[in-house]
């Protein structure tokens, strides 16, 4: 029983960190990993999703619907931002850093001015379960399931749907896709919107567990960039295994040495990976299988 208890505890911590990394990086994996746009406003799309989710839930919508609304609104905002700003910067990655950073500052300060420095949350639903004398939040188990569901859903979308095939074609060979009659501008917009919606979904899913402040996106951004950089361009060969490995490192170090070393471990890993595997995990995996 003691063994089962500690194994469950370790699995729970691993799953909790894994879910956080996967959910927070999914949107960035699409926008930065696939499309190559360094999106420093990723955290603000997350914040947007969280704020919309909480507002909708407080207005009486059931939480799952509220989370969906948050994701959709963030996606719509993402498409508008793509149309107005990002579209002109696809060939200028350095300029896109400045532009998205500016958007991030405007969003944070704008929310601060309009909605104030804090907003009341909705509270974590579902309560807790007892396993071997310790109690665990049930909602966080749901989050783990959501992370797996998200990976599965994205896999189906990108590899088994018409949209996915066209999106990948557009991003890999835009001229060729264009020649074959694909509206590449629209595809870029939709893909960016999808990334923003995934960020909004992350915000919505984590909103019930967090403090609602305009700067809340910043707590996601280090973890998401680390995961995507370690993972490389491909979500499934890159971000998913990267999240698993990083979760193992972070949960392990946090358990043994505390939060500070968990953070240090994460950052040391990304430095090593950039040095040894510049293409990230997916670049390395593809290189060895080729």
């Amino acid at each position: 029983m003691a063994l089962f208890q500690s194994v469950f505890a370790m699995l729970y911590q691993f799953g909790d960190t894994f879910a956080f990394l996967v959910i927070s990086c999914a949107g960035l994996a699409v926008i930065f990993g696939m499309m190559g746009v360094i999106n420093l406003a990723h955290g603000e799309f997350i914040m947007c999703g969280a704020y919309v989710t909480v507002s909708a839930a407080r207005a009486g919508l059931p939480l799952p619907l509220a989370i969906l609304t948050g994701a959709l609104v963030a996606g719509a905002v993402g498409m508008v931002v793509e149309r107005l700003v990002i579209r002109h910067l696809y060939q200028r990655p350095l300029d896109s850093i400045i532009a998205t950073w500016g958007i991030s500052l405007i969003a944070t300060q704008g929310v601060l001015i309009v909605l104030g420095s804090t907003m009341q949350g909705v509270g974590t639903p579902l309560g807790s379960i007892d396993v071997g004398g310790r109690s665990y939040s049930l909602y966080r188990l749901i989050l783990m399931a959501c992370a797996l569901g998200l990976l599965g859903g994205l896999y189906l979308l990108f590899y088994h749907s018409r949209f996915g095939v066209i999106a990948r074609a557009t991003i890999q060979k835009p001229q060729m896709a264009h020649a074959l009659g694909v509206n590449t501008g629209r595809m870029y917009g939709l893909t960016f919107g999808l990334g923003a919606a995934l960020a909004g979904l992350a915000g919505g899913l984590y909103a019930p567990t967090m403090t609602m402040v305009p700067t809340m996106g910043a707590t996601f951004i280090v973890e998401s960039f680390v995961t995507v950089v370690v993972g490389g361009a491909d979500i499934f060969l890159g971000a998913a295994p990267a999240a698993a490995i990083l979760a193992l490192i972070k949960a392990g170090l946090t358990a043994w040495y505390g939060q500070l070393f968990g953070q240090i471990g994460l950052l040391v890993t990304v430095i090593l990976v950039i040095r040894i595997l510049p293409g990230g995990l997916s670049g390395w995996l593809k290189g060895t299988t080729r």
């Binding site: 804090t118 949350g121 509270g123 807790s128 310790r134 939040s137 049930l138 403090t211 707590t219 939060q259």
Partner: protein, 413 residues
């Protein structure tokens, strides 16, 4: 030439003399400039925007009543954005180019330690109106916030008597959290208790799964939470949803970030906080303060202890300048050294201690109930900031400009 020279020299001397005499006279007539450096955006904004409002309220009241010694108060306000570098930039700016008479500055202890050397360098005078980890012995600083001997030596023994001797501390990983945790450790040991765990969390961390498990693995009777900033406040929601169910004790929650108003009940239930003021305090002076505050700022989400401290500090400064007859720092400090600078304000009567330039407080034990309403199981009257004076800090005699902790007290004289 020989005729002109003495005239010229005496003219110059006369002009210089006139300038010399005119300069202070001019300064005495103009407004008294007060620099306000507080975080109005960034991680700490939720707790600190109200401090600026409290200073504006006090300034308005002082000006409506004829100013300080007949001179109007003029506020020079900058948003420090929860960023220590901004504190350094703006502190230089208010002291060098705005030439303010006094500065009201700082929320986090990291920001205070960032700007303090600059205040020392330009021999400025700064009020730090925040509760903190204690120990600053500096002639250029006047501290109106509560310190550990006021908050912990009341709170921890009370909690140990009520809930048991096993204590788990969860603290923000910077000078405030580390030094506060040291105080908790010392007081727990003095009272025969045991520290069953101690964990330091980097600022900005928002995921507490492992921490919650660590707490559950111990036999803790209560958890001392010294978490700071919006990100770390996510702990309460996560601990509550994991059903940790332990009472919590804190010197920073509720009285600062009004978590009981922001979070959904019952995530903060059974939290005990020692604070020198919160808006729920049910005295005529407090109610009157809340009423005046809301008349000027109707949308104020919460009036916390730092708002009251800032308001009190403005009135203490007014009193000291009026008694000194000037804003000259040495003259103001000479008034403080008389030991009877007191103010009967929203939190009761408070006095400045000449040795440490810290303030006495009425300490209220606030308990968060299941529905997040507040009750006050105990009130300690007139708790003095005695520790610095006891260990040998005496600003009336010398100025070490240092910060001391229980493990590094002032060198023996």
């Amino acid at each position: 030439m020989t005729r002109n020279r003495p005239t010229f020299v005496s003219l110059m001397a006369g002009a210089a003399l006139a300038l010399f005499a005119a300069a202070p006279a001019f300064a005495q007539d103009g407004p008294i400039k007060i620099g306000v450096l507080e975080d109005q955006s960034g991680d700490f904004a939720a707790a600190t925007t109200v401090k600026v409002h409290a200073i504006q309220l006090a300034a308005k009241e002082i000006n409506d009543a004829g100013g300080i010694d007949g001179r109007p108060v003029e506020l020079v306000i900058y948003d420090t954005q929860s960023d220590n570098r901004r504190y350094q930039e703006f502190m230089r700016r208010v002291l060098q180019s705005d030439k303010v008479d006094v500065v009201f500055a700082g929320f986090s202890s990291a920001s205070r330690e960032a700007y303090r050397p600059i205040v020392n360098q330009f021999d400025g005078l700064a009020f730090y109106n925040n509760q903190y980890e204690g120990g600053v012995c500096d002639n250029n600083m006047i501290v109106t916030g509560a310190v550990p001997e006021q908050q912990f030596s009341t709170l921890i023994p009370w909690m140990m008597e009520e809930y048991g001797p096993n204590v788990y501390t969860l603290a923000a990983d910077y000078n405030f959290g580390q030094i506060s945790a040291e105080w908790v450790r010392q007081i727990v040991e003095e009272n025969g208790g045991t520290m069953v765990g101690e964990e330091f969390i980097p600022l900005g961390v928002s995921q507490f799964g492992q921490t919650i498990q660590n707490i559950q693995a111990t036999e803790a009777d209560f958890v001392v939470t010294l978490l700071v900033g919006a990100a770390q406040a996510s702990y309460y929601e996560q601990a509550s949803s994991a059903n940790v169910g332990l009472p919590m004790a804190s010197s920073v929650n509720v009285g600062q970030g009004y978590e009981h108003k922001r979070f959904t009940p019952p995530s903060l239930a059974n939290m005990y906080v020692t604070t020198n003021y919160i808006e729920e305090i049910d005295t005529p002076a407090s109610k009157d303060f809340v009423e005046r505050f809301h008349a000027m700022f109707p949308d104020e989400p919460y009036i916390n202890q730092e708002a009251a401290n800032s308001y009190i500090a403005m009135n203490l400064y007014k009193q000291m300048v009026e008694r000194a007859g000037t804003t000259d720092h040495d003259a103001v400090r000479a008034v403080l050294a008389e030991g009877d600078v007191c103010f009967d304000g929203p939190s009761g009567n408070v006095c400045l201690d000449p040795k440490s330039q810290h303030m006495s407080h009425t300490i209220y034990l606030a308990k968060v109930n299941d529905d997040h309403s507040i009750s006050f199981p105990k009130v300690w009257e007139d708790i003095k900031p005695y520790w610095l004076g006891d260990v040998g800090c005496d600003l009336t005699k010398n100025d070490p400009s240092a910060q001391y902790t229980p493990s590094s007290p002032p060198p023996a004289q």
